[in-house]
């Protein structure tokens, strides 16, 4: 079957690609566009390592088909820093060692950014709730939670 022609916006830039019906958005990002920041942990929507936003909504890109991106605005980890300037979440994750192997990190960062855009003053319980779709096997979560809380406070005061 012929491939689908898709026009979309990724990290603010217009993008065109051809994809198979069977390809997920994650397949397209990683294999067709070379955006390997979104990770394939489970490919079944359980781990959240492939988290991106579509028109601001947080989704697992392994559960979205490539053709569905047509006409929407996709944000991935590659669009989070402003050039050389890291987003405060990225910066603080680094400083506070809230990451280890780094596979879950892009998804966690995308999800945390999405949380703080909606709720700049989350409680710890709200942070846990919002990030519950992102699994991490290395860090034990404790530092991630504290780092997101710290960044929220910092961003509110600045």
């Amino acid at each position: 079957m012929a491939k689908h022609h898709v026009e979309t916006t990724i990290n603010g830039e217009p993008v065109e690609y051809l994809c198979e019906t069977s390809q997920t958005l994650l397949d397209v990002l990683r294999d067709e566009l070379g955006l390997t920041g979104s990770k394939e942990g489970c490919a079944s929507g359980d781990c959240g390592a492939c988290s991106v936003t579509i028109d601001g909504r947080l989704v697992c890109s392994c559960l979205v088909m490539g053709v569905e991106a047509s006409g929407h605005k996709i944000e991935t980890i590659e669009g989070m820093a402003d050039g050389e300037n890291l987003h405060p979440l990225q910066q603080k994750f680094l400083e506070q060692a809230a990451l280890q192997c780094g596979i879950c990190t892009p998804g966690v960062l995308v999800a945390a950014k999405s949380l703080l855009e909606r709720n700049p003053d989350p409680t710890e319980t709200e942070v846990r709730y919002w990030l519950a779709g992102n699994l991490c096997r290395c860090t034990g979560y404790d530092k991630i939670i504290r780092t997101v809380m710290d960044v929220a406070a910092e961003m509110r005061s600045s």
């Binding site: 994750f93 060692a97 192997c101």
Partner: protein, 761 residues
């Protein structure tokens, strides 16, 4: 040491590759693609034990886009002895004649499109004669079901040689330790206790699943692999090919987790064989599901007995441990022995007898998983120790302190303990938990309790690490070592050590990703050995380079203490910015092999890792539901190289073990694994975290360690499971002796205690 006389070591640094990781630009093998590469998808056995009668590949081969369909017989044509394994050469690259566990690789489809390969793999038809299977480690001891017709030790381990050619047994290693006279101690005892504890089969679930890309040409093979042990993979592939190791190159990048899953050979031999057959590069990338069929953590059964005198002193302990190694031995026999000798716990017991057995069964293979058998042992001996304390009416911490192992005393293996701060670690937990203050035990249907667990581990020994440190003419530096950074922060630690020795700022130091053509030998990145072993090798190599720089300074007439910058020194010597000063070193710690009959050794380990956990729990007596209110983890890690990264290591280790304790369980029904996905196999998430958690380490110095450091990657796992079981007992007076500790298990135990037991499922 830390922070005092040192300028880099002992200070917290963000990980060197951290910026690449938070921007999504870090290199992983999973991201790699090679020109004209084929994708491999594996057809796996649906049964646990059986003879392969026929394999029909015709329908799969006929699918458009399929390049090859390959079976074990095809592999045998290019590799006449296609069996691998670190302890036994027992694992075929693809099944030959028989399958021995569900999920075993039987055939492979190669295609340019992975989706086509996957569909075609499902169209392979295999006819089996199903055989009876054995799944339980204790049954495997006497079962008529024999997993391997003949044992084939690899020849690398002296204590396995006597098993060569042995038939009609599932025992892949029997290990025995005799310390003092255990029988006499039991005859003399005032009290005797006996309990049996069990653990379940679990999986590492690294989030970058195992992956290897092989590119085999004429007489040279390159394999890109997400492996923790590039040197071993090179050794094993070269052996399979009959080539010199220089003709086999293994390259890694950052690993997306390992936890022991990626040590020794996993998918590399298969990728190599497929590329050899297809004459093209081949990518073998497992799914999360497939990882469950590849390597797991040993289920275990542990019968433990203690002899206690009238004063509450433990005078004798007998331990029998059965390790369920699954269908292929992997490194299981080493788990049996290396963990085996600490089975009596961190106590000063004069009379100890240990029997530890590695068993073959028809489960997926079991190998190394964060702790290398230790968490299974601590679960048993710290539950048992707690029961004794409670039955004797002694405070559990006081009872432990009365019996605890101290520096200067022999551990059961016969080695005198040095730099093992058992008591300080236990005290560290007790203080953080305010153990001596009153504790709110709850009321009504919500009852609270608290408990502790203390465990320890010897380092795998003797093992070698090699390193090269090269100082560039501009005063920057490159460290070449085969330690794999899988998230533990080893690159940063090695850079800190080189920085400290050479007095070069860490920003000017680069640590090269392991590549066996470039980075020298290392035994493997496992068992919390890297900081100590590779840390020493890098320290010595940097020292070698520093000495050469000093000699060069003298030669060009720049006296010691002239403080001339390094670039100037190179210009003076070479007339321009040119040249390199290269230091190198091998490091192997001292070691005395254990006596085969008694297991005794005067120097069994270069250092001891110690970890303790305290837990406060709340049990809902109406449902058995368990809430972890507080988890306190304290370790003796010597003096940390990078404190902030070590804290995350302890936290991660503890939460991983929390999953193994409460929820994770590979459920096998009718010979099938029912839950090989993260949806059904429940690892901890943000919502499974304890309400509060504290992670720390005591002030300590490992005298023979690099800058006072020792391994820290596993210690946080040790005490978690028994601390929770002991806290449950404290809360509601029931004892759970089998993991995982589910709400159902607690509820059943509560009903049992009330004399109203629930029926079995």
């Amino acid at each position: 040491m830390a922070g005092g006389s040192t300028t880099t070591v002992g200070h917290s640094y963000p990980r060197m590759e951290g910026r690449a990781k938070v921007t999504g630009r870090a290199e992983y093998i999973y991201n790699m693609r090679l020109p004209s590469m084929l994708h491999a998808k594996v057809h796996r056995s649906p049964i646990s034990h059986g003879r392969i009668l026929s394999i029909d590949t015709s329908e799969a081969s006929a699918m458009p886009g399929v390049h090859h369909v390959i079976t074990g017989e095809d592999v045998k044509k290019v590799l006449p002895e296609p069996y691998y394994g670190p302890a036994f050469h027992d694992q075929p690259i693809l099944a030959l004649d028989k399958v021995r566990h569900f999920g075993e690789p039987v055939a492979v489809v190669l295609a340019t499109d992975p989706h086509i390969a996957e569909t075609a793999a499902q169209r392979i038809v295999v006819d089996y004669e199903e055989l009876p299977a054995v799944f339980d480690e204790v049954e495997a001891l006497t079962s008529d079901v024999i997993v391997h017709e003949e044992l084939k030790p690899a020849g690398t381990f002296a204590d396995l040689k006597h098993l060569a050619g042995k038939r009609d047994t599932n025992i892949a290693l029997d290990y025995h330790l005799q310390h003092g006279d255990a029988d006499k101690a039991f005859a003399d005892a005032e009290h005797v206790f006996e309990h049996t504890f069990r653990t379940q089969q679990t999986m590492h679930t690294p989030f970058e699943p195992m992956v290897a890309l092989a590119d085999v040409r004429n007489d040279h093979a390159t394999v890109y692999s997400s492996t923790q042990g590039p040197s071993f993979v090179r050794f094993e592939l070269a052996r399979l090919l009959g080539w010199p190791e220089s003709n086999v190159r293994i390259k890694t990048a950052h690993l997306g987790g390992g936890f022991g899953a990626k040590v020794y050979v996993k998918v590399e031999a298969l990728a190599m064989a497929l590329s050899l057959i297809a004459h093209r590069p081949v990518r073998v990338a497992l799914t999360m599901e497939e990882q469950f069929y590849t390597i797991t953590k040993h289920p275990s059964t542990f019968r433990i007995q203690s002899a206690v005198d009238k004063d509450g002193k433990v005078i004798g302990r007998k331990c029998e441990v059965w390790w369920n190694g699954g269908a292929y031995a992997d490194i299981g026999p080493r788990v049996t022995q290396k963990s085996g000798f600490t089975a009596a716990g961190p106590y000063d017991i004069d009379n100890v007898a240990i029997d530890s057995y590695a068993l073959y069964t028809n489960r997926p293979p079991a190998g190394a998983l964060r702790g290398f058998g230790i968490p299974q042992l601590v679960w048993a001996y710290e539950s048992h120790t707690d029961i004794i304390a409670r039955e004797l009416g002694i405070d559990p911490i006081a009872f432990r302190k009365q019996n605890i192992l101290r520096n200067g005393r022999p551990q059961a293996v016969g080695t005198i303990v040095k730099d093992g701060e058992f008591e300080a670690v236990l005290d560290g937990v007790a203080e953080r938990m305010n153990w001596n203050r009153p504790f709110d035990k709850g009321s009504g249907t919500k009852l609270r309790g608290r408990g502790v667990g203390l465990g320890f581990k010897a380092s795998i020994s003797p093992t070698t690490s090699s390193a090269i440190v090269s100082v560039n003419a501009d005063g920057s530096c490159i460290v070449y070592c085969s330690t794999v950074d899988m998230g533990q922060g080893s690159d940063t630690a090695m850079a800190q050590i080189a920085s400290e020795v050479l007095d070069i700022p860490i920003e000017k130091i680069r640590v090269v990703n392991p590549d066996t053509d470039v980075t020298p030998y290392d035994m493997s990145t496992l068992g919390s050995r890297s900081t100590f072993h590779m840390g020493h090798a890098v320290r010595l190599a940097a020292g070698d380079a520093r000495d050469k720089l000093h000699a060069m300074a003298e030669e060009v007439g720049m006296p010691e203490g002239s403080n001339a910058p390094l670039p100037e020194l190179f210009i003076r010597k070479f007339g321009m910015r040119a040249g390199a000063i290269v230091g190198s070193a091998n490091y192997i710690p001292e070691f005395s092999p254990p006596n085969y009959d008694t297991g005794q050794s005067t120097n069994a380990t270069p250092f001891w890792m110690i970890g303790a956990t305290g837990a406060e729990v709340e049990v809902d007596t109406e449902t058995g539901q368990l809430t972890i209110l507080r988890l306190v983890n304290v370790c003796d890690i010597g003096t940390p190289i990078n404190p902030i990264v070590v804290e995350t290591q302890i936290s991660g280790a503890a939460v991983m073990q929390l999953g193994f304790t409460l929820t994770e369980n590979m459920v096998i029904e009718n010979g099938q694994l029912t839950n090989p996905s993260l949806a059904d196999y429940k690892i901890p998430g943000f919502f499974d975290m304890p309400d509060t958690m504290e992670n720390g380490y005591i002030d300590a110095v490992q005298e023979n360690g690099p800058f006072g450091a020792k391994g820290a990657g596993e210690s946080g796992t040790f005490g978690v499971s028994p601390a929770i079981a002991n806290a449950i007992d404290d809360a509601v007076g029931v004892r759970i002796s089998e993991m995982p500790i589910t709400a159902e298990a607690v509820f059943r135990a509560l009903r049992e205690k009330q004399g109203k037991p629930l029926e079995e499922n």
